[in-house]
């Protein structure tokens, strides 16, 4: 368990699952969940390198800022999703395609 590689592999699996949700889900909220998974996997990498690279706290600080970013991003994304619902009566991201025409 005291291996850098196992943490990196876990983070890679989490990243791939999040990317899978982002590219296959139609529901806007589910896409947002995928983005949260991706941010979490990045955070695991930051903290793992902080722990195994000589305990430098800069990795922790960066992970903290990523969490702050994620909170701001979730609030704005949900505001956009609620707007989408009011305009289209649906939050499927592939139906909001007026700009394509």
């Amino acid at each position: 368990m005291e291996q850098l590689n196992s943490y990196l592999i876990v983070a890679a699996i989490l990243f791939c699952l999040g990317l899978f949700a982002v590219i296959t889900r139609r529901n806007g909220v589910a896409v947002l969940m995928g983005i949260e998974l991706i941010l979490n996997s990045a955070n695991i990498n930051f903290v793992a390198f902080a722990r195994f690279g000589g305990m430098n706290f800069s990795g922790h600080i960066f992970a903290l800022f990523v969490i702050i970013m994620a909170a701001a991003e979730a609030a704005v994304a949900l505001a956009i999703i609620i707007n989408l619902y009011q305009n289209f009566k649906s939050i499927n991201v592939d139906e909001a395609q007026q700009l394509q025409r």
Partner: protein, 162 residues
């Protein structure tokens, strides 16, 4: 014992993340996300990041997950059974993601990472607080402005009739 606990945390994280990605019911996805966030907090504890584990539980589970649940409830009629959601192009997406994971895993295993031994810190909150008030003071202040901007932006965007 610690080894078993580590693999248990990893299993909880990955299995619940898989359910988040594949479940047909949006509520099940959101509840699974709860266990994923708890699992990641557990991984932080294994990585000696106790302060970050607390922040993860407070902000992700207490804040972001509640926001997501609000988003689900405000955009679906609770009484209707329309809460199921679908996926598109799972085959192509799965192949792309599998290739990406293979590339990442190959890179992770092949790279000789620089590993430096370090003593276990006695609590990380103090060190993080010192760094936030010295080296990272400007990003810390900018983050507060960013949060204020996001708050105002979300409030303006979600008002009716704009």
């Amino acid at each position: 014992m610690a080894e078993a606990a580590f693999w248990l945390v990893v299993a909880v994280t990955l299995v619940s993340a898989f359910i988040v990605v594949t479940s047909r019911n949006l509520f099940y996805s959101a509840i699974s996300l709860l266990f994923t966030f708890f699992g990641v907090a557990g991984l932080y504890i294994f990585l000696w990041a106790d302060f970050l584990a607390g922040v993860q539980v407070l902000i992700y589970i207490g804040g972001i997950l509640i926001l997501i649940l609000f988003g689900i409830m405000l955009t679906h009629k609770i009484t209707s059974v329309d809460i199921a959601h679908t996926s598109i192009q799972q085959g192509v997406g799965g192949i792309v993601v599998l290739f990406l994971f293979a590339a990442l895993a190959w890179m992770i295993v092949r790279t000789p990472w620089l590993v430096a031994a370090a003593p276990e810190p006695q609590g990380t909150a103090g060190e993080i607080g010192k760094l936030l008030m010295t080296d990272y003071l400007l990003p810390f202040e900018v983050a507060s402005v960013l949060l204020l901007g996001a708050l105002l932006g979300a409030a303006v965007l979600s008002r009716k009739g704009n």
